[in-house]
Amino acid sequence: MRLGRYTLTLEPRPTLSPLHAVLTAILAIFVALALSSVIFLRSELGALSAYRVIFSYAFANPNGLFTTVHRAIFLLFCTFAFLVPLRAGLWNIGLPGQVYAGALAAFAVPFALQAHEAPSPLLPPGLTVLAMVLAAAVAGAALAAFAGILWAKLHVNEILVTMMLNSILFWFVSYMIKEGGPYMGATAEGESFLLPDALRAPTVLGVPFTAMLAVGAAALLDLFFAKTTLGYKIRAFGLNPAASRYAGINPVTLPVLVFVLGGAFAGLAGYHNFAAIPGLYKISGNYGYYGDLAFYGIISGLIARGGAAAIPVVLLFAGLSLGARLVQGQLHLPFGVDYALLGLLMMTFVPFLILYRFRIALRLAPKALPQISADVPKA
């Protein structure tokens, strides 16, 4: 762009500092919040008050805080489910499908043991809960591994496959819980059976034990990528598959492995959401909403890029998406404020993600040179 005698250009930055990345992420979030305030301007309350309502409910109100934490745990699992394959350069956007798979598998354990109606003599409740957690992780991993294997063996586009699996699992859940499906609850229409008290995830201070899994995973994940050989191999593969193949890294097992790990996290998210959050303990009719919510994992994964760094991000997103639902009701806003927020975060973050590799430079323009003419003068 030309400004008087100066030109304004975008140039790539020679070095990228981590601090810069952090600042960019924070700035992007603030810009997204500023943009979202347009939504609230329509209400009589005003944007600032709307945000006050959102944050005070999400973080200061005891009920709200618990819900925020529960949702943050769900989002944290989803973030890791996206992040691990991403470090290997692969896009796992099959988070909803893997979440559903985890939930279905978790509920399959009491279903198979006939423990959803009466305590089963086959397995004590504690072990049943453990089996549910494992089943959820395995199911999520297996579903993701399917995409991983297709990619590793045939290079089938992983975005398409995971997306198709989302739709397949979405309808499959409907089949399982609605219109006489196997999991259909005794009383309710379009919902699964309710987990009996004994099979509900144990809680510590009102927070299910899955919180410890999630936070532990956050710390381990950073250690994993920074210090272990496997983490090194995943990073190498993500940056340059050809070079990592040259270096003897197996180009089939590694992509499958990252999908297995990612899928297991998503499966745990499914377990957590439907079998561990107090007050739900069933696959509800609006399970699709939680599937959509899982997409927040993509953006928080892109923003945080790491395990521990994801914790504040998911807390913020959980609080925002919850509080947004609340103000939506209070301010009589249309449905989907939390969806709009998701979109706006993506809208600001992607440009930031790409732009932060550039800097804006203002330089003295070179003197204008005469244009060439189409006719070549005769010598």
């Binding site: 020679p14 050989t229 983490g231 190498a236 940056l239 040259y246 003897g248 189409a374 070549v376 003068p377």
Partner: protein, 534 residues
């Protein structure tokens, strides 16, 4: 000029006497550059370069890799814009925003790396970008016009063939023809001989001379090869580190003078491997075949043996199965037929990792794309060869501290110039990166080293260093499979020389049997003997 739809303009009368500058003979320059300066991040690529090219001459631009030749030519062609300086065509200042501008006023360029669309036909490539191809394509007319052009220049080309099916020599003629079809009167050729066989080089040079003498075209040839300069050019401009250090008539120059200008000092390029007492039989390759990425049989039944302490040199022009040979032995490409025995063990189905562990080291040609990870630090890049080494990991944890020590040792021993060990590999120059890779691979103490184009694109000093290191590796008992396009390199270093052509060894010659002419002819597929094992 009429932006001709394929019509080559009436030739301008060629000056009676070629009058290169440097001497006092006057002559009207057709294309001039004044004070051209170009900076890339951290590098001054060109420093106030002046150049005068006279109509109807062949001007050689000589310089080492990295001297700025290609950048200068890209500026003359409008592909790169100079930071400072002006260009003049017949005394009038011109400004190129893009190659389109240069093409419009009659400057064409043949690039070092082929700028052709491999999946398209020759005809489509020739028509691409032509001002006549605005609306519906009239391929029949283009075919007729190009046919006439081919006839005039004596070029034989199958216009319906896909470009990827052509030989390198044919591709080059497609590019030359494309420039002429666009009406180019000034033709820039960047390292035109680098991937050609000696006979193809001969054809090219004859063709270029004819273009100049019969058609009055002006030719700029960029090269680092002295024989080319001496054979065709009327005048030569020498670039060193982005500056013009000399401009003189070729008939007044000698190879020695030019070398001194080019390098800045007298450097002995002669390094010859001392003959060794061959050691144990290490590698046996039997009737090896492999497919290329396109599914074509690129390697067709290659057999040879390699003993400890020997260098086996595979000489050939890129694209004759060398890459497939290297990859098959390194385990990166499946074997279609035949087998590989290493130290008596059948390797044919073993993974790349297993081969690293057993002592097969590989230095691929693509050092920035395959042999290293641009965004990784030097330490992390060293890890590429050690992540599977038990000495470098404890219970799944990578011993980065130890890796750092090793990297430091490599950087010292192999004279890698880098600001520090945690700088990203993409900040290293090609030579320093290659030294790092070499040091990294050799730190594994491989018993067999596959080195593919190990000195391509390196400056003289780095080249000498790499070659010296390869010989030293052999003297310590390792065997080297050297794959190169550089005939001098092969002849100087190898104990055995195998010219490769279309996936087959034309022969396997001992050092005593091989001379440049024989090997050159075999590389071109002109002569072949029954390939016998040494």
């Amino acid at each position: 000029m009429k932006a001709g739809t394929g019509r080559v303009r009436r030739p301008v009368p060629a000056p009676a006497i070629h009058s290169p500058e440097g001497s006092s003979i006057p002559g009207e320059p057709i294309l001039s550059a004044r004070g051209i300066t170009k900076r890339f991040p951290g590098v001054l690529a060109l420093d106030r370069v002046d150049l005068d090219v006279r109509a109807g001459e062949i001007r050689a631009v000589l310089g080492q890799n990295g001297a700025g030749k290609t950048t200068l030519m890209n500026i003359l062609f409008g592909l790169v814009q100079p930071d400072e300086g002006q260009l003049y065509l017949r005394g009038r200042q011109v400004h190129f925003r893009s190659p389109h501008d240069a093409l419009t006023i009659g400057i064409g360029m043949v690039h070092q790396t082929r700028k052709l669309v491999a999946a398209h036909t020759v005809l489509e490539n020739l028509v691409l970008g032509n001002p006549g191809a605005r609306g519906f394509l009239n391929l029949a007319r283009a075919r007729r016009e190009i046919g006439e052009l081919c006839q005039r220049y004596g070029v034989v080309l199958e216009l319906g063939a896909r470009v990827w099916q052509l030989s390198e020599g044919e591709k080059q003629w497609v590019e030359i023809l494309k420039a002429l079809y666009r009406g180019a009167r000034i033709l820039i050729l960047d390292e035109p001989t680098s991937v050609l066989t000696p006979p193809e080089v001969k054809t090219l040079l004859t063709g270029l001379k004819a273009l100049v003498s019969d058609q009055g075209v002006t030719v700029l040839v960029v090269t680092h090869k002295l024989p080319i300069v001496m054979a065709v050019s009327h005048a030569v401009t020498v670039l060193r580190s982005g500056r013009v250090v000399a401009s003189l008539r070729t008939d007044e120059a000698t190879e020695q003078i030019l070398v001194r200008h080019m390098i800045g000092k007298d450097v002995s390029l002669r390094l010859t491997k001392a003959p060794v007492e061959p050691g144990r039989l290490l590698l046996q390759v039997e009737d090896l075949s492999a497919f290329s990425d396109k599914g074509l049989r690129a390697l067709r039944g290659v057999s040879f043996v390699l003993r400890e302490g020997e260098i086996f040199g595979v000489a050939g022009v890129t694209g004759n199965g060398q890459e497939e040979l290297a990859q098959v032995i390194a385990g990166l490409r499946p074997t279609a037929a035949g087998r590989i025995l290493f130290d008596g063990h059948d390797m044919t189905l073993r993974s790349p990792l297993a081969r690293w562990r057993l002592g097969i080291g590989y230095i691929p040609a693509e050092r920035a794309e395959v042999a290293s990870i641009a965004q990784f630090s030097l330490v992390e890049n060293t890890g590429l060869n050690f992540h599977f080494d038990r000495a470098f990991s404890t219970q799944g944890f990578f011993d980065y501290a130890r890796l750092e020590q090793l990297t430091e040792r490599i950087v010292d021993t192999y004279d890698v110039k880098a600001p520090h060990l945690h700088v990203q590999a993409q900040n290293l120059s090609g030579g320093n990166l290659q030294k790092l890779i070499l040091g990294r691979v050799l730190s594994r103490k491989p018993r067999l080293l596959i080195a593919h184009l190990p000195t391509q694109g390196l400056d003289v000093e780095a080249t000498a260093f790499v070659r010296g290191t390869l010989m030293e590796t052999c003297s310590q008992g390792a065997a080297v499979l050297l794959i190169s396009e550089d005939l001098d390199e092969i002849l100087a270093l190898s104990d055995w020389i195998a010219p490769i052509y279309e996936g087959r060894f034309a022969a396997i010659l001992s050092r005593g049997e091989a001379d440049a002419e024989t090997v050159g002819a075999m590389m071109a597929g002109l002569r072949s003997e029954e390939a016998g094992a040494p």
